[in-house]
């Protein structure tokens, strides 16, 4: 049985933890609104980009000579995986969910005797993956310094990928991130960006395969547009990720606050009981002392 003093200390420590988690929840909620706003604002760009690429790739008659970013290298031996995670912890299952999804994919690739290369974005992903896949990680990127998600950062990652692709360091590239559905649900996603899967892009109105006029030629536009699309897709993933991170942190901290509250209640009851017991004991001692006189 812990002493009254111990209980008092524990109660106050749980209470101060609760204060912290409550504050973190508030901060996450405020940031979430902003991140969600940004994610929604960013959607039109990637959607329109997809539409244009779709229209363009339909227009290409000579599929054999299509740009390699669209058609692939012809090989499927080396896989590059970009794992996007957060830089901060205390956000519930956010990072572990992405890692779990990615690890299943890694296992599949390794069991098929293919080469796996990993680039981690965000320090938490690197921390979790370095234990098992240390030799596979070829680069780790972190944007701890930049406050908000911005296109400039996404472009940097995009350029790294394109450079490596041009050096023929990999054949297939997949990105892993969390898609923001709502505050409680975030869905881990895997998305192949090289070669681009046009079948994945949903066609809104299949009837409108227009005869576009192109300036310059289709393949020339495509060869400029596809690298841009890589950055766009990564930017989209980063936006979704940041909204998911805040959402996940908010729910996690909400739960933590509630749990701390329950714990305080339990400890307070225990504290009151022990105090009562001590008083009763003293009373009994006095009464029995008086009786014996």
């Amino acid at each position: 049985m812990p002493s009254l003093d111990d209980l008092k200390k524990r109660i106050s420590s749980v209470k101060s933890t609760q204060k912290i988690t409550k504050a973190m929840k508030m901060v996450a909620a405020a940031k979430l609104r902003k991140a969600q706003d940004n994610a929604e604002k960013g959607r039109p760009y990637s959607e329109k980009m997809n539409n244009i690429i779709l229209n363009l790739s339909d227009g290409i008659s000579d599929k054999e000579n299509a740009p390699k970013l669209l058609a692939g290298t012809g090989d499927e031996k080396i896989y590059l995986c970009i794992v996007l995670t957060s830089d901060r912890g205390l956000c519930g299952g956010f990072n572990s969910n992405i890692i779990k999804k990615a690890k299943i994919y890694f296992q599949k690739i390794l069991s098929e005797n293919k080469t796996l290369k990993i680039i981690t974005v965000g320090s938490k992903g690197y921390d979790q993956l370095k234990r098992v896949y240390k030799d596979n990680i070829i680069e780790k990127i972190s944007f701890k310094d930049s406050k908000n998600v911005n296109y400039f950062d996404a472009n940097k990652i995009g350029k790294i990928i394109i450079n490596r692709f041009e050096k023929k360091e990999f054949d297939v590239c997949t990105i892993f991130y969390n898609q923001f559905k709502n505050v409680i649900t975030q869905i881990p996603q895997e998305q192949q960006i090289i070669p681009l899967k046009t079948s994945d892009i949903k066609k809104k109105d299949s009837s409108s395969i227009d005869n576009y006029e192109f300036e310059p030629e289709e393949d020339e536009i495509l060869s400029i547009l596809l690298p841009k699309n890589i950055s766009t897709q990564i930017f989209k993933a980063m936006l979704e990720n940041s909204a998911s991170e805040q959402g996940s942190r908010m729910t996690a901290m909400d739960n933590a606050t509630r749990n701390a509250g329950e714990m305080v209640d339990k400890l307070t009851i225990q504290y009151n009981r022990s105090r009562q017991a001590a008083i009763t004991k003293e009373l009994i001692e006095i009464i029995s002392g008086a009786e014996s006189l």
């Binding site: 990637s46 296109y151 300036e215 020339e220 841009k228």
Partner: protein, 131 residues
């Protein structure tokens, strides 16, 4: 019949501009400036750094774009660009910085097409600072 069509300028962060009553748009297309009126043929074109002129009932507006791609279809003009700003709100610091950056990238080894685009960018940005 009205002679208006719709324009949307989108950058990665947000939908920058969306307007309904546009009478004419002049864009810096890859192979020269191009004016677009209502009922233009469907077209997809790559844009080089330059000024977009948007004419509407309210008058003329000018925007600078870093790069971009435009699509015109069913009287909707969509312009995707990575960086855009209204010439009325131009930021001298940004312009000077990007001129510097562009000039630096010229000293690296790049292909002719990129060199052309970078030169174009410097030229446009410099002309902006003069006014």
């Amino acid at each position: 019949m009205s002679q208006d069509f719709k324009i949307e300028i989108v950058n990665p962060e947000k939908a920058f501009l969306s307007k309904e009553d546009i009478t004419e748009v002049v864009v810096p297309a890859f192979e020269g400036e191009m004016g677009i009126l209502k009922d233009h043929i469907s077209i997809i074109s790559f844009l080089k750094p330059g000024i977009i002129k948007v004419f509407s009932q309210e008058g003329e507006e000018k925007f600078y774009i870093d790069d971009g791609i435009m699509e015109f279809k069913d009287n909707i003009l969509t312009i995707l660009t990575s960086y855009v700003f209204n010439l009325k709100k131009l930021d001298k610091n940004y312009i000077e910085k990007s001129i510097e950056e562009a000039e630096k990238s010229l000293s690296n080894e790049i292909n002719d097409q990129k060199r052309f685009l970078v030169n174009q960018k410097i030229e446009v940005l410099k002309s902006l600072t003069l006014n």
